[in-house]
Symmetry: C2
């Protein structure tokens, strides 16, 4: 990647231009570049945009932001946490922005939240510069940050979890192997027999093949697999998918009254209806 | 507007850059400019993009396209058509792409579909260059095109309708007055007592004030008013709202089995769950 080719001065205004797609580019006008550091894994920028507030940008791609970051973080966290009737131990792979961990701390009965993030600098930058996204996680004693490769971590399993959340960036760069079948098998080996795994499974519009492959891999290893949807305005096309898998618990039978109350996007109706898929997605997943 | 400042040659590639927002721009790589004409009302371009196929662009703003145009058109059409138990006469204000009218022709019991579009050239261009969006409407004898100002048309009411669909572009330029309270009052006067009105009420993210105002206006004149949502990837942020209003029929009690079967986005579950709003929208509309 050309250094900083995604930060441009256009007619005297600063813009962040997402360059990761060949045929569609989204440009955000910037108030300020808050921080810009290079880790052993990636370029990490915190920028302050007019429409989305402060944003975490990894290798030129928007990851999360103050305006709509909560939508993604709520949807990837609360759905598995409520589907499991009594989760105690949670593992998050990725999730360096701390947003998913922060949502999970809203469940008081949990005992442990392990966050395995490959890039310590992402966590430091987010805690320092986007505290509204990082939320309560850095201050909750149940949250343990483990700076390690998620692939290695689940391969060398030491502990068992009730819920594993795969909160990865796109399947290029550091996160590529987090979309492999081998990784899902290793992750499953870290789940208790009634455990639940969830992952972000990309855009059903622009990454149809990734969603189909992820759904297929999980169906190979779990008896209950369901894809659900949300709208994340700062992701390309806004339409995003998540896929949840378990040998025992079906999210359609979840006791949604257990849902944490202090949320901005998800509520009981949104939880249930996120599993209602439009026809084109049902066809894509061969659900009809 | 500077002529064609939204069509740019960047490093030898042609791009369509939406310039209507100050702080967020979306750029689509173009295969070809199919047609470019100026009407008395606006600049009309049909462009062929890599990601979204052929697109209708009015004054530099994306209106509809081959890839996701059906989502918007299905959601603005089928919801009122199914909420009303026995619609016979439908009025569409705007809708020059013919997509909404085309969806409505899927209901065989309808007698008349009047499309009041201010700009005849939009209809001609869409029928000629984007027939997959224009669909069946130009060939269905129940569809009447009336090239007139929708504001004037409802003010000088001659007929009564069961369903009125306000399928407008954004509230700038020709469509501005289609978001006024006076217009909704005039439109209501063209509805039978048990009639239903629906309008696109913009993005709850980027046009929160428009949605709130539209919802408020309709609440002033109808006893049942509900906002519903859909994801339209080619609209900014992807998150879109519609608002439906009636004195008699509540969409939550609709007989969704009446829904046309040959759709790509909407189905019975999507119909019902489109009324489940995230917490931030409930707050916005003071629904809690």
């Amino acid at each position: 990647m050309d250094n900083f080719d995604y930060l441009k001065n256009i007619d005297g205004e600063m813009w962040f231009v997402e360059n990761d797609r060949d045929n569609l580019k989204v440009a955000y006008r910037i108030r300020d570049i808050i921080s810009s550091v290079k880790s052993p894994f990636q370029q990490i920028d915190i920028i302050d945009t007019y429409d989305f507030g402060r944003c975490l940008v990894l290798d030129g791609v928007m990851q999360t932001n103050e305006m709509d970051g909560y939508i993604y973080n709520e949807m990837i966290s609360h759905v598995p946490l409520v589907t499991h009737p009594s989760p105690k131990d949670v593992l998050i792979i990725g999730g360096g922005d701390c947003g998913a961990a922060s949502e999970i701390t809203k469940y008081r009965d949990l005992q442990k939240i392990d966050v395995v993030e490959i890039d310590e600098l992402v966590v430091k930058e987010c805690i320092k510069h986007i505290p509204s996204v990082a939320g309560n996680a850095p201050h909750d004693k149940r949250v343990n940050f483990i700076f390690d490769d998620g692939i290695e971590f689940v391969r060398n399993r030491r502990e068992m979890y009730d819920v594993i959340i795969i909160d990865s960036s796109d399947p290029v760069g550091p996160a590529e192997d987090l979309f492999s079948e081998k990784f899902y098998i290793d992750a499953k080996n870290c789940l208790r027999p009634d455990g639940i795994l969830v992952c972000q499974s990309e855009s059903p519009i622009f990454y149809k093949d990734i969603l189909q492959r992820t759904y297929g891999f999980l169906c190979n290893h779990f008896s209950i697999v369901r894809t659900y949807k949300a709208v994340v305005p700062s992701y390309p096309g806004g339409f995003w998918s998540f896929t949840i898998a378990s040998q025992k618990y079906d999210p359609l039978n979840a006791d949604t009254e257990r849902l944490a109350k202090n949320t901005k996007y998800i509520n009981e109706e949104i939880f249930k209806s996120s599993f209602n898929l439009p026809n084109f997605m049902k066809e894509m997943l061969e659900l009809e």
